[in-house]
Symmetry: C2
Subunit: 330 residues, 2 copies
C-alpha cells in the first residue's frame, strides 16, 4: 500500500487537523470530537444545516462548510458512520435557536445515528431538529448498507440548496422543504474502474480484473448492478446518463455533476462530460449548470458518477446563491 | 490500461470539447485549434494573460481561464508543447491592443514555441508580447526537458498575480513585473508514489517498485533527485517543505499549495498539509493562505508537491483579488 499517511489509525484525525490548518479562519474543530463546524457557528438567527458520514469521500463533507452551505460536518472513521454522541454535539454546536436540518445520506448506520443524535439534542438542549435522507443512486434498490437507494453525489445539490435557503433566513420547515425538493428531483449513477484501498486494510476492498469495470457501484465499494468488460468513455457516459434519465425523466433545464471517484484524472472527467452533455442535448434538455470534478469520492477509486438535477426556478435561484466553501468549484 | 477515454489519439480534443460543454458561457475554442479562450476575449482595455503547455496537468491550464486569471490557454498533446502556430493564434485572440503576457513553464519546447509564437504575433498583428518563465522546482537544476529549473505548481500563483494585475487595468510592463516578482518568490518540490500512464502509451512512464517512492519528481515523470523506500506523510512533508524553505528562505507571511498529482485522494493531501503547516509554524512563518487540492497534475500519478510563496503586501493584495475560474478553489 502506497499512501500519503502516517499511522492508518490516525488518518481521519490528522486529515481533520490538516483541514483546520488549511482554513483556520473558516472552520474549527469541536473539542474532543471529529466534528468540524464553521468558525462562527452557531450563526445567529439562521437555521443550522449539517451533514456527516464516514470519511473517505472528501471533499464531502467538511469541504462544503462555509457561508451558504454547511454549518457542521461530522467525520466518522473511513466508511463508518459518526457516532450518535458526536452527531448530537455537532447539532448543538450549530443551533442558534432556529433549529438544525440534518442532511443524511441513506445508509443504515448514518440514518440510525442521526435519528438518535436528533433525539439527544432535543432532550439535552431543546433543539428543533429536522432530517432529510438523500437517496439519489438509481443503480440499486436495496444494497449492502441500505434499505432503499443509496445516497451519493446528489447530496452536494441538497447541501447547496438547503444552505442557500438557510442563509436567506428561512425557517426550518422551509429549509427542509427545499432540501426535499432537491432530493425528489436528483438522480445519480456511478462506475468503478478499480477498487479503493482503505488505509486500515491496505488492500483492495474488492477484486476487479484488469479487463473489468463495474457499473452501478456504491461509494464504499459496494457491489453495483453489472460487471462488464472495459467500455470506452462514451459508452460509459451513455449507460450512466441513460439510466439516470430513465429514472428521473426530467424536462427543460437541468444541473449536472460529472464526479470523479478519487483516483481519476480531471482530463478523463471532461472527456465523459463531453458525451454527457451531448446526450442531454439529444434528449431536448438544457444544461443550466455543469460541474466537473471531485465532489463525492471513494478514496483512491478510479471511476466516475453522473448526477442530474431536474430544475425549477426556485432550485435555480438557490443554486446560484453565493457560497464560500473550499469544495465547491465555480 | 483502464481510463475513461475513447480513442487515445482523441483525448485532448475531446477533453477540450468537454470543457467547453461544461462552461459554455465562460470559455470558447478558437476554431481549428486546441486553444481555449475566455468567451469575451479579447477583453477591451486589458492586457491579455495567457499560458499553455502539454496536456495531462489539468486543471492547468484551461481550468484557470476567467476574469481575474487567464484569458487564453493552449493545450498541446499529452506532455507535449503546443505548436508555435497555435500559440500565436492564442496570443492574437487575447490581444485587445494592450498587449499579451505569456506565462511559460520552463521546458525547452514550451519556451522555444512561445518565443516563436510571440514573434509571429508581433509580425502578423503588431501585438506587444511579453514573456515570463516560471522555474519554481527546487529539486533539480537541469533536467530531462529543461535547462535550469522546471516550472511546476508555483505557476498557479503567477497566473493569479498576473491575472489580477491585468484585471486592474495595469499596463503590460506592470503585469510582467508582478509576474516576475511571484516567480522570484516561489519554490516547489514534489514526490511520486507511482508513475503516470499516458493514454497513447498505455503503460507506466517509468518503473517504481512496490516499496519505492521518488523525491523531486517532475510533472511528466522526469526523474527526481532520490529514489527511496516508502516514507510516511510527515517524513515526506519534512523533506519537501524543508528543501523548499532552504532554497527560498522566506520570512514573515507565506502562501502555500499542497498539490495532488492526479491520483492521490484529497484525504491524503490534508494529512500532508497538517505537517506542512506545523513545519512553517516551527520556522516562525505565518501562513496567510493555504490551498490543498489538485492544481498541477501529472495524469494519474499518485503523489504530491509542496509550493511556498514568500509574500509582500502587493502579492497579498493581488492574490486576494476576485477571480472567477473553475480550477481555483477558495
Amino acid at each position: 500500500m502506497k499512501k500519503l499517511i502516517n499511522e492508518p489509525a490516525d488518518v481521519v484525525d490528522e486529515m481533520l487537523d490538516g483541514m483546520v490548518a488549511a482554513y483556520p479562519d473558516g472552520v474549527r474543530r469541536v473539542d474532543g470530537t471529529k466534528v468540524l463546524v464553521r468558525e462562527d457557528a452557531p450563526v445567529e438567527g439562521k437555521v443550522g444545516v449539517v451533514s456527516g458520514g464516514g470519511s473517505g469521500h472528501e471533499p464531502t463533507h467538511a469541504g462544503f462548510l462555509g457561508p451558504g452551505m454547511l454549518d457542521g460536518a461530522a467525520a466518522g472513521e473511513v466508511f463508518t458512520s459518526p457516532t450518535a454522541d458526536e452527531l448530537s454535539e455537532m447539532i448543538q454546536a450549530c443551533d442558534s435557536g432556529e433549529g438544525v436540518l440534518c442532511v443524511v445520506k441513506n445508509y443504515e448506520g448514518d440514518v440510525m445515528n442521526f435519528e438518535t443524535a436528533g433525539e439527544m439534542a432535543e432532550m439535552a438542549a431543546d433543539t428543533d431538529v429536522a432530517q432529510v435522507v438523500v437517496n439519489d443512486d438509481v443503480a440499486v434498490e436495496d444494497s449492502t448498507y441500505t434499505s432503499g437507494r443509496r445516497g451519493v453525489c446528489g447530496t452536494i445539490f441538497v447541501h447547496k440548496v438547503a444552505g442557500a435557503k438557510a442563509a436567506q433566513g428561512a425557517d426550518i420547515d422551509e429549509v427542509q422543504r427545499v432540501a426535499e425538493k432537491a432530493i425528489d428531483n436528483v438522480g445519480s449513477m456511478g462506475t468503478a474502474l478499480t477498487s479503493c484501498v482503505t488505509p486500515e486494510k491496505g488492500e483492495p476492498t474488492f477484486d476487479l480484473g484488469e479487463e473489468e469495470i463495474e457499473l452501478g457501484i456504491g461509494i464504499h465499494g459496494e457491489p453495483g448492478v453489472e460487471r462488464t468488460g472495459i467500455m470506452d468513455a462514451d459508452a460509459i457516459a451513455d449507460e450512466l446518463t441513460g439510466q439516470v434519465l430513465d429514472d428521473l425523466d426530467p424536462s427543460g433545464e437541468v444541473a449536472t455533476i460529472v464526479n470523479g471517484m478519487g483516483g481519476t484524472p480531471l482530463m478523463e472527467l471532461f472527456v465523459v462530460n463531453r458525451r454527457v452533455q451531448e446526450i442531454l442535448g439529444e434528449e431536448g434538455l438544457e444544461t443550466w449548470n455543469a460541474r466537473v470534478g471531485e465532489y463525492m469520492t471513494s478514496l483512491d477509486m478510479c471511476g466516475c458518477s453522473v448526477t442530474v438535477l431536474d430544475l425549477d426556478e426556485e432550485l435555480k435561484e438557490l443554486l446560484s446563491a453565493p457560497a464560500e466553501t473550499p469544495g465547491l468549484k465555480v
